[in-house]
Symmetry: C2
Subunit: 432 residues, 2 copies
């Protein structure tokens, strides 16, 4: 098929993922050429520090610290960016596209914040910008939203998209460890960073959700449009009570479309135990897309790590290489034509799980129930648990029927002000 002319690749970044990409391009060169129909050659690799020891397989002549040796080389048709972070990555991506090069990136932060501008630059230059590796590692969700599932109007995307938090919550659920202990274990296994804020507070998930929602709804969704609640407020008893009520607790990143508006949020939520998302354990990720034609399609796989991310990056690279003719051709780009509104979390309609620490005496529940009733929040179930005779306190766990977030927050402020309520421990949404 097509010509035997080789395709030259410039790789920017040689960390965990860059190393995997380089190794695959070099070690698997023959297999890749057969699958693509023509040879792909790694022509140059950008690193920050030339003196750092590298895998022996890369000839020294390939390594450079000067980005211009990639961006300014007309023989390089495809640039792969796996540096991460906003700068200098954004500048490199912009320069590569401007120079008419196809681009593959694994950069979720750049794609979440500047994706639409970069996509439109790519379209204007008649080149491809692919970013499968920016979300979900080895799960091919970006490509499927752009291609295989494109015939659908997407109604919702429900995801477990951060492996660190899912590992921590899985430990807390199955081993009764508390949050700090589970976080420590995640750090020991290399699943969490020394400063875990980005994962634990939901920012990483919000970047990924912004990318998926933008593709799914053909509307720009920005990370700052997404409500974020972290998992550090969860305690062992939340898992116990949730289980008793028939639920698992998972940190979900969800975007839904209703009445022409998008609702996008990241938070720990209760999920029915028999739901597929409840069964996603450890560092695995899952994405459930509900489409107008396909119905619910769920993807499950490893969301991070050298292998899965390399699978996504090299897959994108092969996609471009297989379609690369000798002349430049018009390129299909994602159309962001919908311009839908992204709603504030206040407008969310959900069921809720509420855990309170209260004085253990008669009439307390009545006071709380009255406030909820005044706010037209209907109670679905109440558990009174773990009375502490010494402190004369008890736990009250309330689940509600669907209610509006703003009403629930307002009622909660009044509940918290009751003299009999020692503490509002947790407010979680129930996703069914």
């Amino acid at each position: 098929m097509s010509s035997g002319l080789e395709i030259n690749v410039g790789l920017m970044g040689l960390g965990v993922v860059g190393g995997g990409v380089a190794a695959t391009l070099v070690e698997q060169a023959d297999v890749l050429s057969r699958k693509i129909g023509r040879p792909v050659k790694l022509k140059k690799v950008l690193v920050r520090d030339r003196t750092k020891p590298r895998a022996a397989i890369l000839p020294k002549a390939l390594i450079t610290t000067n980005p211009e040796e990639i961006l300014g080389d007309p023989a390089i048709q495809i640039v792969v960016e796996v540096i991460g972070g906003i700068e200098p990555a954004t500048r490199y991506l912009t320069d590569a596209l401007t120079a008419g090069k196809h681009v593959v990136t694994a950069n979720k932060e750049v794609m979440a914040k500047h994706g639409p501008e970069l996509m439109s630059l790519a379209q204007q230059k008649g080149v491809n910008l692919l970013f499968e590796a920016s979300v979900g590692g080895g799960i091919p969700i970006v490509g499927c939203l752009m291609n295989e599932l494109l015939a659908n109007d997407v109604h919702s995307i429900r995801t477990i998209i951060n492996g660190t938090t899912n590992y921590i919550l899985t430990r807390m659920a199955h081993h009764r460890t508390d949050f700090r202990q589970a976080l420590r274990e995640a750090q020991e296994h290399g699943y969490a960073e020394a400063d875990p804020t980005n994962d634990v507070e939901g920012h990483d998930a919000a970047y990924k959700l912004a990318i998926l929602a933008t593709l799914a709804f053909h509307t720009r969704v920005r990370p700052e449009d997404i409500y974020c609640q972290g998992i550090s407020g969860l305690e062992a008893q939340d898992f116990r009570y949730a289980q008793e009520l028939g639920y698992a607790i998972k940190s979900l990143a969800i975007a839904t479309l209703a009445d022409g508006a998008i609702q996008a949020r990241v938070y720990p939520a209760l999920v029915p135990q028999d739901h597929m998302l409840a069964k996603v354990d450890g560092v695995y990720n899952a994405v459930e897309v509900e489409g107008s034609l396909a119905g619910k399609v769920l993807f499950h796989g490893m969301g991070a790590g050298r292998g899965p991310t390399t699978s996504a990056v090299v897959g994108d690279l092969m996609d471009i290489a297989r379609r690369l003719g000798q002349e430049r051709r018009p390129v299909p780009a994602v159309q962001l034509h919908n311009h839908l509104r992204v709603e504030p979390i206040d407008n969310l309609e959900s069921k809720y799980y509420l855990r309170l620490n209260v004085s253990d005496r008669p009439g307390v529940l009545a006071q709380i129930a009255r406030i909820l009733g005044d706010g037209t929040i209907s109670i679905a179930s109440v558990l009174q648990k773990d009375a502490d005779p010494a402190k004369q306190t008890a736990q009250i766990v309330i689940t509600t029927h669907p209610a509006r977030e703003a009403s629930v927050q307002q009622a909660l402020r009044l509940v918290a002000a009751l003299p009999v309520v020692q503490q509002v421990n947790n407010l979680l949404r129930i996703e069914e």
Copy 2:
């Protein structure tokens, strides 16, 4: 993007799927045009019987009974075939490709039997042949094997790929119904045909597995290379015993690659209850691909029906339309360069579940164990169940450690010949 020139589509077949495709192309014309970047127009629809009542939305002038009005019309760039069956579909597909038209088909039988010839014809003519809808309905597994996961060497594909059998097995497992009753229910719900042979005996799954294995291993795998065992031999007690041993029973279509050879088979098997595949219920399908880079990626969704199949067909159509320039261009095709051997089932290495009806008296197990031992088949567990004092019989359920299929079959013949063995009820593999 690109030109505003419209793309003309010829649709062959207007049954359940054809009706869905036609409705989507007509009713969603605006949305599709925006997503594609140029208008797509349904120009002609081939039907067998012009007098049959049709949805009002299709103008009469679009309907024809003459295939030449599609195959011979140079203005039609994309042909969609949803007739099903081998002929005349194979001839139409061949003629369309020969005429230089891009083709989208939902035809699993044709693609399983003649896919490689048609793919090579398409490549030679510089056109696309896409067939996402031939396997797994709304699950985008064909596209992902051809594109998103292409960087991986695939080690295995494990699937639940026939909704009819999965519905029947789910009923048998959860409602203790027997096979005939569950089949009747499936027929009442429209999930099984009046003659259910094709589904129940595994032929439908074998067609789909042949397609997936061919793509995954870059080697032609023919339906007749695939060992097929149906589900009609399963009885209620198999589900009870399996559950007791910690397993679910699922009809799996599996292709694995080891030592340079492919092993492909369709059979009911025991799957550990906590495996994701054990949790696939009802008419849902699932496909688990294990790749060298991505690890295990699981896809779960609706494997049949008008909506999901339309999602796949229209997705393929949009893929072609989005990439269609004004001139013909070289096309990436699947390379079948591996030429691997497909092994007979005799060489399978597996754990086994064996259920026997035996005389309920001392020494029986010893006789059976001796035969298995002589065949170097190592026993993992034995259950003696459901003694019937009237008939003086009991059930023996044996699970084994990994053994070779040929040895197990040989031992089973000897066991069946023992005077104390009334019947060999079932031999199932255990997939872990």
